[in-house]
C-alpha cells in the first residue's frame, strides 16, 4: 500500500504522517508538506477569479467526497455500481426536506442523511451484490431509476418535478454558513475528513480485503473473507459518502430537483473516478477537481464544447487506463529510473512531476 500512499498529492494537505519507523527526517518533511498544503487550501478560495469559480471549487469539494465514496465499491472492491446518483439524491432530499418541512437544524439533516443513505446502502446492497459484473451494473441502474421516479412522482412529500425550494443554508447553532466562502471551509473540512477516513481504511485490513475481492473473489473467500459482507459494508460506506455530499450540495445550492439525480450524474461520478485513477485516493481528488473545471476551461469553444469535452474524456480514458494518477506514477518511476543512473542527482521527482499533469486535453480536436 506504500505505493498508493506515496502519491497522496501535497495539495491535499495529506492527513498526518504515518508513525514510520524512526524516520525523523521523513516526519519533518510530512509536517512541512502538510503545513504548506494547509496554507494553500486556506488561501485557495481567495485565488479564485470570481464568485462563480469559487462556487465551482465548492462543487469540486463536494464531488471529491462523493468520488472517494464511489472508490470504495468501484475502485477497491471492483464492483460496477451505476446507481450512485440515488445515494447522492437521497442524502440531498433527506436533509432538504427535514430542514424545510420539519424545521430541523442543518446538523440534524446531515445526520439523517448519513443514517438514511447508510441504511439504504445496506438494504440495496444485500440483494444486488449477489450479482456480478454487468448484472450488478444493471441492477444498480434500476435501483437508481426507481429512486428518481419516486422523487418525481411522490409529489406531496418530494415536491415532484418542481423540487424543493428555499433549502436553508448550513448552520451550527448561531453560526450561519451562508456565503460561498464560508461554505468553502465547511466543505473543505468534510472533504478532508472523508479523505482521512479513506486513507485510514486504505492502510488497514479493510482496504486490503476489498482489493483482494477485486483481484480474486474466490481466492479471498478461500482466505476466510466473508466477501458479501465486505461488499455490503463497502457499498454502505460508499452510500454514506454520497449522502454527505448530497446533503452539502442541497444546502449549498438552496434548491434541488430530480434532474440533478439522474443517470447523467452517476456517469459524471464514474468518469471522475476512472479519469482520475480508480483505486487511488489522489486519483479521486484529481478526477473530481479536473472534471468540475474542465467544462469551464472549454467554455470558450462555445457550441463545440460538448464535442471537445466528450472527445477529450474519451481520449484520456483510452490512452490513460490508470487515469491521471497512473500517468503521474509512470512519469515518476521513469524519472526514478533515470535518476538512479546519475548518482549525484538530489532533486525530488515527486514534487516536480506534478508539472507533468496533462492540461485540459487536446485542443486541436
Amino acid at each position: 500500500m506504500a505505493a498508493l500512499d506515496r502519491e497522496t498529492s501535497p495539495t491535499l494537505a495529506a492527513p498526518g504522517p504515518p508513525p514510520a519507523a524512526g524516520a525523523r527526517g521523513r516526519r519533518w518533511r510530512w509536517l512541512a508538506g502538510g503545513a504548506a498544503g494547509a496554507a494553500f487550501l486556506l488561501v485557495l478560495p481567495r485565488l479564485m477569479p470570481g464568485s462563480y469559480q469559487l462556487h465551482l471549487l465548492n462543487l469540486a469539494g463536494i464531488y471529491v467526497i462523493v468520488v472517494l465514496g464511489l472508490n470504495f465499491i468501484l475502485g477497491w472492491a471492483g464492483q460496477i455500481s451505476l446507481g450512485h446518483a440515488a445515494f447522492w439524491g437521497l442524502g440531498a432530499y433527506a436533509s432538504a426536506l427535514l430542514t424545510t418541512r420539519l424545521g430541523w437544524p442543518f446538523a440534524g439533516g446531515l445526520v439523517a442523511a448519513i443514517v438514511l443513505t447508510g441504511l439504504f446502502g445496506v438494504v440495496v446492497g444485500i440483494p444486488t451484490l449477489r450479482l456480478r459484473g454487468h448484472y450488478l451494473a444493471m441492477a444498480t441502474v434500476g435501483v437508481a431509476e426507481i429512486v428518481r421516479l419516486v422523487l418525481v412522482n411522490w409529489e406531496p412529500v418530494t415536491g415532484g418535478a418542481l423540487g424543493v425550494k428555499n433549502v436553508p443554508p448550513a448552520s451550527f447553532g448561531p453560526l450561519l454558513i451562508r456565503t460561498e466562502l464560508s461554505f468553502y471551509y465547511l466543505i473543505l473540512a468534510w472533504a478532508l475528513l472523508a479523505l482521512l477516513g479513506a486513507w485510514q481504511l486504505q492502510r488497514s485490513t479493510f482496504g486490503r480485503i476489498l482489493q483482494a475481492i477485486r483481484d480474486s473473489e474466490i481466492a479471498a473467500e478461500v482466505m476466510g473473507v466473508d466477501a458479501p459482507r465486505y461488499k455490503v459494508l463497502a457499498f454502505a460506506l460508499s452510500a454514506v459518502y454520497a449522502g454527505i455530499g448530497g446533503c452539502l450540495y442541497a444546502h449549498l445550492s438552496g434548491y434541488i430537483s430530480p434532474d440533478t439525480y439522474g443517470f447523467d450524474q452517476t456517469v459524471v461520478f464514474v468518469t471522475m473516478l476512472v479519469l482520475g485513477g480508480a483505486g487511488s485516493l489522489a486519483g479521486c481528488v484529481l478526477g473530481a477537481v479536473l472534471l468540475t473545471f474542465l467544462p469551464e476551461w472549454l467554455r470558450v469553444l462555445k457550441d463545440y464544447y460538448m464535442v471537445i469535452y466528450g472527445v477529450s474524456v474519451l481520449l484520456l480514458m483510452v490512452f490513460l487506463p490508470g487515469g491521471v494518477v497512473g500517468l503521474l506514477r509512470q512519469a515518476i518511476s521513469r524519472r526514478r529510473l533515470a535518476i538512479s543512473h546519475q548518482p549525484s542527482a538530489v532533486s525530488s521527482p515527486l514534487a516536480e512531476s506534478r508539472a507533468d499533469a496533462p492540461g485540459p486535453g487536446p485542443m486541436d480536436g
Partner: protein, 259 residues
C-alpha cells in the same frame, strides 16, 4: 476407528448436467499424513478440491472435516474451520504486495473491526503489526522473505506458487489442499517443494496433494488415491499404487494393453 481421519468424504457426488465429475467418492485422509490424489486429466481431481473447499456445493454426499459435516458451507467458513487451499491457476491479489497477500489470509484472526480500521485505534495498530509479523514468518518459511514488499504480480512463476502456499498456511489450517503446486516448476524448484511439504507435515499439518509430477507424488506421499472418471480406482502407499494394473491402464489406456 483404528486410525483418526481428519477428512472423510461419504458418497461424495458432483454432477454437472449429464457429467458425473465425482461419483460417490469415499475418501479418507489420515491426520498428519501427505495424501496424494492422482489421475488422468478429467478424473475429477480439481472438482474434488473445489468441493472440499466449498467452492462447489456437492450434488450429494457428506464431507466430514474433523467430525463436522461441512458439505454446502461457504468457503470462508470452511477456511475458518481449518481447511485451506491453493489454486492450480494461480489466483493472487495482484495489486497487493507479497506480504499484504499473506496478511489478507490471516486477517480474521486479528480481531480488527471496521470501526477500529476507520479510526485507526490502538487495537487496529497492534493487530496490523501482529498480522505483518506473522505474514513475514509465513514468507520466511517458503523462502520469500526478501520479496515481501514487491507487488505480487512481479514475482516469478514458481515464486507465485510459493506465495500461494504461504498465503494458505497463514490461515493456520489443519488440512492443506494443494492443487498442482509443482506445475511450471523446474526440477530443482520441485525438489525444494518436496522438502517444504515434508516440513509442513512435520508441523502437524495434513496435506492433500493433487499433482501430475509423479516424481514428487511418489517421493513425498504417505498414501495415494487414484481417480478415474470421478471414481476411486486404487488406493495405497505409492509403491503399491505404481504397480497396480488398473492405474497403468487408466493412465496409458489402449497403448498399455498393446504393450
Amino acid at each position: 476407528m483404528a486410525e483418526s481421519y481428519l477428512l472423510e468424504t461419504r458418497e461424495l457426488t458432483m454432477r454437472f448436467g449429464g457429467l458425473l465429475a465425482v461419483d460417490a467418492l469415499d475418501l479418507r485422509v489420515a491426520a498428519g499424513t501427505i495424501h496424494a490424489v492422482i489421475g488422468p486429466n478429467g478424473a475429477g481431481k480439481s472438482t474434488l478440491i473445489n468441493l472440499l473447499s466449498g467452492i462447489y456445493r456437492p450434488t450429494r454426499g457428506a464431507i466430514v472435516l474433523d467430525g463436522r459435516d461441512v458439505a454446502g458451507r461457504r468457503p470462508y467458513e470452511i477456511t475458518r474451520l481449518g481447511l485451506s487451499r491453493t489454486f492450480q491457476n494461480i489466483r493472487l491479489f495482484h495489486a497487493l504486495s507479497v506480504v499484504e497477500n499473506v496478511m489478507v489470509a490471516e486477517h480474521f484472526r486479528a480481531g480488527i473491526t471496521f470501526l477500529d480500521a476507520l479510526l485507526g485505534t490502538p487495537r487496529a495498530r497492534r493487530g496490523e503489526a501482529r498480522l505483518r509479523e506473522r505474514a513475514r514468518a509465513a514468507l520466511q518459511f517458503v523462502g520469500l522473505a526478501e520479496r515481501a514488499d514487491l507487488p505480487a504480480a512481479h514475482l516469478a512463476y514458481g515464486q507465485q506458487r510459493l506465495l500461494e502456499i504461504a498465503r494458505a498456511l497463514a490461515t493456520e489450517p489443519r488440512l492443506l489442499l494443494l492443487d498442482e503446486p509443482a506445475a511450471g516448476m523446474n526440477r530443482r524448484e520441485a525438489a525444494d517443494l518436496m522438502e517444504r511439504l515434508r516440513a509442513i507435515r512435520d508441523q502437524g499439518i495434513t496435506v492433500l496433494l493433487v499433482e501430475h509430477n509423479m516424481r514428487l507424488v511418489m517421493g513425498v506421499s504417505d498414501q495415494v488415491t487414484v481417480l478415474d472418471f470421478g471414481r476411486k480406482i486404487a488406493e495405497g502407499p505409492p509403491s503399491a499404487v505404481q504397480r497396480d494394473p488398473r492405474v497403468v491402464e487408466a493412465y496409458l489406456g489402449q497403448e498399455a494393453r498393446h504393450a
